[in-house]
Symmetry: C2
Subunit: 123 residues, 2 copies
């Protein structure tokens, strides 16, 4: 079976503390996906690594399929315009690797339910 | 009992489609919080309303307590620096209203679990 890598792709921020839940998220996915393949973080800007670096690293580890999951709330310009261009670059660098892209996490019903429950716990 | 309003505070984006999950989220919270008080959206930039407008609207509806929930993944500069300044402005406009601020939704364990499960479903 082909080794399947996952990239959790976030916006990035100036404040390093912003990254902390992304590291926790990567740990959770890594723990659950340990049999299928490696899990990496990547950022659009302000933080490292960028997506081409993360994808190259997964390919170097033997991944033949890479799924990029945009850790964004909505499908805005970053996910609809910027990300496809970067994925195109990655695909050109690794033509034999299948690079797939998921819908932004915030569009998922179960994610929104969990966010709604959190909001209600604050009242 | 004091009427308690909730503001779901997001970053905002140029692409209006980015807003769609925020509207769905507001609908979910509104449905569940219908007995406690009104639920509003507000944005830091690029989208309307801004936080002072949303808070003034909740106060006009009779809210004596307003909880602002940052719909951000991490506690970066927007949540640690920009948001407190805007909340200060809101507080100055409505000195008799208690304005509270929650931690960013992405810091919550259950939210991260739901995001992790979504990521794993993409593989």
């Amino acid at each position: 079976m082909a080794m399947h890598g996952i990239v959790l792709f976030g916006h990035g921020a100036r404040d390093v503390r912003w990254r902390e839940p992304f590291e926790r998220l990567a740990g959770k996915v890594r723990g659950a996906a340990s049999e299928s393949g490696p899990v990496a973080l990547a950022f659009l800007e302000l933080m490292e690594p960028d997506l081409p670096t993360a994808v190259s690293d997964l390919v170097a580890q033997g991944c033949e399929v890479v799924t990029v999951v945009p850790v964004f709330f909505g499908q805005g310009g970053h996910v609809r315009k910027d990300l496809p261009l970067v994925i195109e670059q990655c695909q050109a660098l690794h033509p034999s690797v299948l690079i797939k892209c998921a819908v932004a996490v915030g569009e998922d019903e179960a994610v929104l339910d969990a966010v709604a429950e959190y909001c209600l716990r604050q009242v």
